[in-house]
């Protein structure tokens, strides 16, 4: 009863490149194609407290009737503190991930308090089967942005910071659900050729392919490098957008499909067949 590919999968080796290639041209089913994933930055938005966060919350509420949103949170300054401390104590990257996840969790819980009166729920990774239901019923759902890798996080190429944090976790949520948009809300207008906080003359980049961006090999980036690497292999998410949450209207514009902020897109042809 197996398909031809299924017969090869059952008997073959998963390290066989030709078998992996045979899985390339399979269909891509988008599970929740009307959902938007919106990541609220940790250091950039959450850590600003009322002044930074409340206008973003107001904009989320205003968009509830118009756009379905999965709201992920970043970690921020408390994660930086515990990463510093844990590195000093000699703890491995998997333990740092467990610790950093707790900070993103705190931010998600705070965001949920602020949106509680609108009936918005906070779901842990174990509850993700309910995400489509909450999106349909309430228009949005909150999650902590870290991927649930815990002790199974991988060592980075360089240094001791977990390489796959909340940018990556939110991107992978958008990819697995086949979401309509992946929008990162930070405190800059988007991508610059250097950190604009340290170099005010840094040039703004409104639109760039992920291939070009990787080739530029910038020393600093607006997004985790892991997102760019995974984006090359993604089968659903074709572009990601970065908006300034300190400027009212930018999130709404991005949800409406306008090219505000910076868009990083995949210039390669889409993979797989459409069912």
């Amino acid at each position: 009863m197996l398909t031809d590919l299924g017969r090869r999968l059952v008997s073959g080796s998963l390290s066989d490149e030709s078998l992996m290639r045979a899985t390339e041209n399979t269909p891509n089913l988008a599970l929740v194609p009307w959902a938007n994933v919106v990541k609220i930055g940790g250091q950039s938005i959450m850590d600003r407290g009322r002044a930074g966060l409340m206008p973003v919350v107001a904009e989320i509420v205003a968009n509830l009737p118009r756009h379905k949103m999965i709201l992920g949170t970043g970690a921020g300054t408390r994660a930086r503190h515990i990463y510093s401390l844990a590195i000093d104590l000699g703890l491995p990257v998997g333990v740092l991930t467990v610790l950093g996840t707790a900070v993103a969790w705190q931010n998600a819980q705070m965001l949920q308090y602020l949106l509680a009166s609108h009936g918005i729920a906070f779901l842990e990774p174990e509850g993700f089967a309910s995400v489509p239901h909450y999106l349909m019923e309430r228009g949005a759902v909150i999650c902590q942005g870290m991927p649930p890798y815990k002790l199974w996080e991988q060592n980075p190429d360089l240094g001791r910071i977990p390489p796959q944090r909340t940018d990556t976790g939110c991107f992978l949520i958008a990819e697995v659900f086949g979401a309509r948009k992946m929008i990162y809300v930070k405190d800059e207008d988007g991508l610059y050729e250097a950190d604009p906080k340290k170099d005010p003359s840094a040039k703004f980049i409104p639109r760039i392919s992920v291939q070009e961006l990787l080739k530029l090999d910038l020393n600093d980036l607006v997004v985790e490098r892991a997102v760019l690497e995974i984006m090359l292999n993604a089968r659903h998410v074709r572009e990601i957008q970065f908006v300034n949450g300190l400027k009212p209207g930018q999130l709404t514009a991005a949800l409406d499909g306008e090219p505000v902020g910076t868009i990083i897109y995949n210039a390669d042809a889409a993979k797989g067949s459409t069912p």
Binding site: L5, L31, L91, V98, W152, R160, K197, E224, G272
Partner: protein
């Protein structure tokens, strides 16, 4: 960054994407459980063969119980291949395939834990590995876990195709690496790494020891280990080798636990 309410730390206000900042975090790592041995039982290679292959492996684990602290990872096998096939046909994304396939390994791990239960082994799901492994190893004689890492919906889409790249070899290695284990031993149904698949190429040459980077460069058509583990080994901090042994040969696990040169040792 004016406006944010910071906690003072070395990384305060820094971009964690900045290579100079990241490089500045390089420092030694401590082994949390240096006496731990991670032993992974292959799914298709051992579990799917039933008692003729599984029971001798478990007997050998028990024979070494007094001398070595062992946690047993277990792989998924043919049921995972089946659900991958159905899921691919339906167009499910890689993260959904990973979530489904991991359950097959959980079943195998649960069976192994039942067979070892009377000897004091416990089955630990991922959250309990995070919270309870040291306590369980102090109270129980060993632990069994699902070899597949809990990446679930967050599994990476692979560079080629749609099959989840992180299986039970990767998960077992990562458990060893994070705890700073004494050894990571993968039990399969082949003697180790050959220049070609020995089941179809009788003239294939055996490789007793090899560096992960060299093995990647050899671009062999098939490997008895998930290719992603080779990449993980190149970034190892604590567990700098993985040994692959043939579990159908009695005595191999005992020799591997004793640190003898059996099977193939892949080094970082």
């Amino acid at each position: 960054m004016s406006g944010a309410q910071h906690v003072i730390s070395k990384l305060m206000r820094e971009s964690l994407m900045d290579r100079r900042v990241i490089a500045g975090t390089e420092a030694p790592v401590r082994a949390i459980l240096p006496n731990l041995n991670v032993v992974q039982i292959g799914g298709q290679s051992i579990m799917d063969r039933g008692q003729s292959a599984v029971l001798p492996v478990l007997d050998e684990i028990l024979a070494n119980q007094a001398d070595y602290t062992q946690v047993i990872g277990v792989g998924p096998g043919v049921r995972a291949r089946h659900i991958l096939s159905v899921g691919l046909d339906l167009g499910l994304p890689t993260g959904a395939l990973a979530t489904l396939a991991a359950k097959s390994a959980a079943q195998n791990a649960y069976m192994v834990s039942c067979l070892l239960a009377s000897h004091g082994f416990v089955y630990l799901e991922a959250p309990f590995i995070v919270q309870l492994l040291p306590a369980m190893l102090a109270a129980a004689r060993g632990a069994v876990f699902n070899g597949v890492p809990p990446y679930d919906l967050w599994e990476h889409p692979p560079a080629l195709g749609k099959i989840p790249p992180h299986g039970s070899d990767a998960g077992s290695y990562l458990v060893g690496e994070v705890f700073g284990a004494r050894s990571v031993i993968l039990i399969k149904d082949v003697d180790g790494v050959f220049t070609a698949d020995p089941k179809t190429h009788p003239d294939a040459t055996f490789i007793p020891e090899v560096k992960a980077a060299d093995l990647i460069a050899m671009r062999l058509q098939t490997l008895p280990i998930e290719p992603v583990v080779l990449e993980l080994l190149t970034r190892a901090k604590l567990v700098k080798s993985v040994r692959i042994i043939n579990g159908l040969v009695p005595g191999n696990l005992t020799r591997a636990l004793a640190g003898e040169a059996v099977g193939t040792l892949i080094r970082s």
